[in-house]
Assembly symmetry: C2
Homo-oligomer: 120 residues x 2
């Protein structure tokens, strides 16, 4: 179990369980946060470059966050992000697609403060 900073090492990998994404979930997220035809309605989406319903990229990102929280890569410590770089939406996520998350420790920077939390 990873409990302390010293328990982490470069190259350490994490892999989440898989989740299946449904058409309803795609539409519900889109209605609130990304109301564009290709995220809301399959028929309308057929006429767009997506050629069918696709999840909002922010929905996929939020699902990834949830999977990260389930993994608990830092044991009892919270997962708090400072920001995002290098996020790329490579392929549309479709209803019925099964997603999982993989992570790797690519850097280790000791906190300069006494902040007792894991920032990632």
């Amino acid at each position: 179990m990873i409990e302390w900073f010293e328990d982490l090492s470069l190259g350490m990998r994490f892999k989440s369980e898989s989740v299946k994404i449904s058409e309803d979930e795609i539409k519900q997220f889109a209605a609130k946060f990304d109301p564009q035809p290709f995220h809301l309605d399959d028929e309308a989406a057929q006429k767009t470059i997506f050629k069918g319903l696709a999840a909002s990229g922010w929905h996929t990102a939020a699902i990834a966050m949830n999977l990260a929280v389930q993994i608990r890569p830092f044991g009892p410590h919270p997962l708090i992000g400072l920001g995002v770089d290098g996020l790329r939406w490579m392929l549309p996520v479709r209803p019925g697609d099964i997603l999982h998350l993989e992570g790797e420790v690519v850097g280790l920077t000791p906190s300069r403060t006494s902040l007792r939390a894991s920032l990632w």
Copy 2:
């Protein structure tokens, strides 16, 4: 009205309406996508580095997407993201906070394909 690529110019700015974020919305998003104490429960959040309920950063990002869609910065053309760089969560977003989005055209790259969409 911005309808074509040629209608855009460097330095062009966009500003959205404002939205107020509620405690319920923060909790609902967190329950689905970022179930950690500081996003779910104000009392539990008091004992964390946030010192009170704060929205998931992914929630704030999703709200920003919705505001961007409302602005319609590219007129009738869709808003499709290729990815994210340089996103930074600088301050916690609290219940009752009022958010708006500001954007600026900082680069213009003509598509190399016949893709009829605005990628941003």
